[in-house]
Amino acid sequence: MKVMRYLPLLFLPFILCLAGSAAGQGWQHKGKLVPEWRYFFESGKTPQALDHSQVSLRAEVEFDWQSKNAKQVIRFTPYLRLDAEDSERSHLDIRELNVQFREGDWQLSVGINKLYWGVSESRHLVDIINQTDNLDDIDGEDKLGQPMIALSYHQDWGILEAFYLPVFREQKFPGPKGRFSPNVPLTSEAIYKTASGKHHKDIALRYSHTLGDFDIGTYWFDGIDRQPTFTQIPNSDLWAPTYTSIKQVALDLQYTHEAWLWKLEALWREGQGNDFHAFVGGFEYTYYQVASGRFDLGVLIEYLYDGRDGRDERDSQAPITLFQNDLFVGMRMGFHDTQNTALLAGVMSDLGGEERSLMLEFERRMSPRWFMAVEGRFFQHGRVSSPQREFDGDSFLTLSVSRYF
């Protein structure tokens, strides 16, 4: 397996850590080891694809060091997944490896970093800096580390941040043995429809602020769209992931009042055929202390709109989306027990079609060091006609047990 080459890297933090503690500095670490078992209800669509059961193991360790006055921070977070079935899904990534300096109103961060923008729950629409780690999960919450130089300036009127992203990270795809793999053969060489090819330097500027009950963020992004389209290579069966450069303005807004959270994410994009806009808007309302205080019950409703052209990539220059006119209805139960038991369930329905997907997440602490989670995704009716994705038949249930150290 190709990841084996990188395995010695995993020892680097331990050495760093030892060196750090020997020097009496402020090193800390935390980590987890997670065996995971995924069960697919239907057998794979292709003869090579795995049948029902997929076992894997993931490990993540975070090391950080802080100077005495907390003005300098070093952080290193290697991540590894080993998959028993799909060797393409086995991968090593550096989620973080950065140095941060803080002086007065200024903060500078150099290196590989991970950050999150946005407020909505059903789709992470405006979150753009980090590439999605497709191999880990399909919920878009796992991200690859992004090399960057980030400078931020803090004032009473808000925070201004500038990002320079010198390296673009391509999306990775499961292999033929895996699930959620593209149903056409892909080349390893991606096509870049940008002025300077894959060496395009992305730039982002963001402003964010809290004004009473409102949390607001807005940014301008000039760079490569993280999500590719697919182009068939002439005279060949192969398809190439194709990246285009875009310009995007986006907004994330939350209004918090009593038990209400009102949320809006919106973006305007140019560069992929006709300009378009997209948004996710809705609310979360929580009933506290239900059933004699045994749990809190949250109700989530979000409407999703995306105005990009076409439902089929063959007639669109923008990557296909599942969320053109959809409604998400969900509920969250948080129990007030010492195990932190929580349950999240939701249904995403296409208002213009029959597609529907159901998600279910259950988690519970088993001991101070052990934590378990069950996650299910159920897909109904042929989702989209896309050479990249066809989740129908890939409904699954995942059981994972985390060991923290």
Partner: protein
């Protein structure tokens, strides 16, 4: 004055006599309510003394080890670190960092308390690097599954309660029999509070809160908080142990506080949502 007036009015008709009675009665009520008011003022005065005795520390860091006891005596433990900043023209700001259990390690909870209205709260989730603004109206919910509600551990601003029924009496269990306390009731102004009233026991020498009895929405005596082992750090008294006993479900939470640091020079900006991702 009133007497003179009534003697003049004696010659009047029946109707006026009723009026006089009413006047006298309302005068009586006025005096009574002034008395009640002054008692409220006195109780509030004690609360202000408590607040004043614990002012000027600027910022404070402290570690807490929390042990949650079930009714059958089984226990689990949690570790947190808290950092607070005194804000003179508004409520205090605080950051709580979770260390144990390990699945929530690195989670940071930021609160901006306000003298009036709801607090502002944010939660930093380290796995996603996501900072979420959360609703703060859940004041009565349990903190980390313990017997402490969020409102029991949040900054105690004087203006968040109304007061009455000040008296001086023995502090009672578990304190020495001869120990005298100022005892008063306070009533949460916030409708989302889980309590109708709290009975506060304050020691007469140093104005430290020794004990609080909590009465829930049904006015049952739900919980008792006892603050033990007070120690003086510079000008400020801190209890090393807090015990919250729930009388209704027999559960108990014990907090052992340690490693205090005062006046480290933190700024407002260290207590903003943008600062959360750099805590650890």
């Amino acid at each position: 004055m009133l007497n003179n007036k009534t003697s003049d009015l004696k010659k009047c008709s029946c109707f006026s006599r009723w009026a006089v009675k009413a006047l006298v009665l309302s005068g009586l009520f006025a005096t009574l309510s002034v008395q009640a008011n002054s008692e409220a003022l006195n109780a509030e005065h004690i609360a202000q003394r408590v607040d004043a005795a614990d002012s000027g520390w600027q910022d404070e860091e402290v570690k807490a080890q929390m042990t949650l006891y079930a009714a059958d005596g089984r226990s689990v433990s949690r570790e947190i670190r808290s950092r607070s900043l005194e804000v003179s023209d508004d409520g205090d700001r605080s950051l709580v960092v979770f260390d144990q259990p390990l699945d929530v390690k690195g989670t940071v909870f930021l609160t901006h308390t306000h003298d009036v209205g709801n607090d502002d709260q944010w939660l930093f989730l380290p796995a996603l690097k996501r900072t979420k603004r959360i609703a703060s109206s859940n004041r009565s919910g349990p903190f980390m599954g313990s017997e402490f509600a969020y409102e029991d551990i949040s900054s105690e601003e004087v203006s968040r309660y109304t007061y009455d029924d000040l008296r001086s009496a023995a502090c009672g269990e578990p304190f020495a029999a001869e120990r005298q306390c100022h005892i008063y009731n306070r009533y949460p102004v916030d409708k989302s509070s889980g309590y109708t009233r709290q009975q506060v026991y304050v020691d007469q020498e140093h104005y430290r809160v020794l004990k609080i009895d909590y009465y829930d929405r049904k006015n049952s005596h739900q919980k008792t908080l006892t603050r033990n082992d007070y120690q003086k750090f510079g000008n400020y008294w801190r209890a090393k142990q807090w015990v919250m006993q729930n009388h209704l479900n027999q559960k108990k939470t014990v907090v052992e506080w340690s490693d205090w640091k005062f006046s480290s020079g933190f700024q407002l900006r260290d207590f903003e949502r943008s600062a959360l991702s750099r805590y650890r």
